[in-house]
Amino acid sequence: MSKVPITKAASNNLESSPKYAPVRALKQRYTRQNLIAVAILVALAILIPLLPQVKGWMLSQVSLVIIYIIAAMGVAVLVGFTGLVSVGHGGFLAIGAYTSALLTKYFGVDLIIGLISAMFVSAFLGALLAVVFVRLSGAFMAIGTLGFAFFVGTVVNNVSIFEGRDGIFLDNNVILGIRIEDFGFYYTSVASLLLVTLAVYCLVNSGTGRAFMALRDSENAAKASGVNRLLYRVLAFAISAGITGIAGALNAHVVNYVSAEVYADIWYSVDILIAVVVGGPAILFGPYLGGIFVVMLPFFLERLADFSFILKGVVLIAVLRFAPAGVGELILRPLRIARRRKLRSVAAGLRESEVG
């Protein structure tokens, strides 16, 4: 065995291990397959509004599903990938909504600028919250985040610029000087979801994502790996809040109206969490399934609105009991197991190929 350089300076030109190449090739093939699946989903999303039934109110309902998925994506970064609980993401939804609403209404900014500002303001406040909550975990973290959502709800209800329950009516949405209607808005939401999904994919497949998952899976092992707990918790909160902030902004503009009536409602936060848990918090497409479930449920039980609340609870308990990793895991499990087995057998073959 040749001498292995160990010092940081000496070793950055290590030859990439040709032995591992077959495993790498297989992984690349799986990545390509994933990308094709995403492409198909995007194509579907683009085609949906072309159905004759989908227009007007119906189209805004579909937009709402998309927005919900984005919000859930934000929560998943925290709950699924970093192992922190948040029962208060409705607060970030509100922060995103009011940031964009106030900026577009009083400063006439473009919708895109509104969305980006919502993301940054929400991310900043998320980071701040993480610093405040640095010593909390588990149930205390849940209570703390719930308190945060209450706080935000109280502020928008009582501080005059937010106009409380009267709400703020917004002008028509403008992107690059062009007024967009239902269709334009729907595609804006789809584009946002696509970007958020890509961002989360890159995140969880990076060293930063590994640090998040390290904190989730073993605090001691994470420390021993050199992960700065405070820094990565703050980062996870900021990213999570930023994504949910985008959803909040879209949520304001889909109906061109924001009101404390909506955002002071604590159940909003709980619903997003339910969507994440039902869909599968540590699966990229978990929030898709959960978001569709939570938004569509009352829709299908139109005349039994109260019943939908109970059904949500029943489904949640069933999922926690029988598929704790989420419905997404249930669907993807066969595929995942097949891929894992293939990867393992190729990796296991590396030993023999060296001998032979």
Binding site: M1, L14, E15, R210, A214, A224, G349
Partner: protein, 255 residues
């Protein structure tokens, strides 16, 4: 060669138990130093102090000539200290490769550019993966790279932990009972590995181990502690002949 790690008069109490009572030791650069003592002597506690996992009531820790009393575990890792645990701490649901790559956390660079997949960050990521595979190869873990570590046998898990520690490219390794629960051939393998890490990579090693044959064979110098206090020190030959050490070990049941 100079001192690499030193601690001075370390005191740690858990309620009424004095786990460390004025413990001092010096680890010279490039050596393999043993730390032995009967069960409950305070070895693991001292390891936790040195790697800054554990706070202490009094005393000083110096690493690389710098006072490390106010450092956190992740600082110690970035300064070049890596450790393993007596009771394994791994990311059980993650694969061997993921576990080892997480050990290279110090090399991801700026977390924002890493998560945005900037070209420089992707290059680093590729280097981290290459090095992780390299380390796995060295520890005979290549066939397990895509296995979840929770499914691996105990001896393998011990090696994954060692691989994770090596992935951080440390200048010093703290190993807490690395061959506990391993069979003879695994122990032999690990012995050779410790030599290799020390001789070929130039890594200083501080080793806590109950397997006396291993300690006597690999260590350049040994510290013996008992009831949280320094009992003796010397070369393996000197320690073996020391009357206090023999008495301390005779007093202990064969664990």
């Amino acid at each position: 060669m100079g001192e690499h790690l030193r601690c001075q008069d370390i005191q740690v109490s858990f309620g009424g138990v004095r786990a460390c009572n004025n413990l001092s030791l010096t680890v010279p650069r490039g050596k393999i130093i043993g730390l032995i003592g009967p069960n409950g002597a305070g070895k693991t506690t001292l390891f936790n102090v040195l790697s800054r996992f554990q706070s202490y009531d009094a005393g000083d820790v110096y690493f690389e000539g710098k006072l490390a009393n106010d450092r956190m575990p992740h600082h110690m890792v970035s300064m070049g200290m890596a450790r393993t645990f007596q009771n394994i701490n791994l990311f059980k649901d993650q694969t061997t490769l993921q576990n080892i790559m997480t050990g290279a956390h110090g090399q991801i660079g700026n977390p924002i550019s890493a998560m945005c997949w900037l070209p420089a960050a992707r290059r680093r990521e590729r280097q981290i993966e290459d090095y992780a595979i390299h380390v796995a190869d060295m520890l005979n873990l290549t066939p397990e790279l895509e296995n979840e570590v929770g499914n691996l046998p105990y001896g393998h898990q011990k090696r994954v932990e060692l691989a994770r520690a090596l992935a951080s490219r440390p200048s010093m390794l703290l190993l807490d009972e690395p061959v506990a629960g391993c069979n003879d051939s695994e122990t032999q393998e690990l012995k050779e590995l410790v030599f290799k890490v020390n001789r070929e990579m130039g890594v200083t090693v501080l080793l806590v181990e109950h397997d006396m044959s291993m300690v006597m064979e690999v260590c350049d110098f040994i510290y013996v502690i008992n009831f949280g206090a320094n009992l003796a020190m010397g070369t393996p030959g000197e320690v073996r002949a020391n009357k206090d050490v023999i008495a301390a070990y005779l007093g202990e049941d064969d664990d």
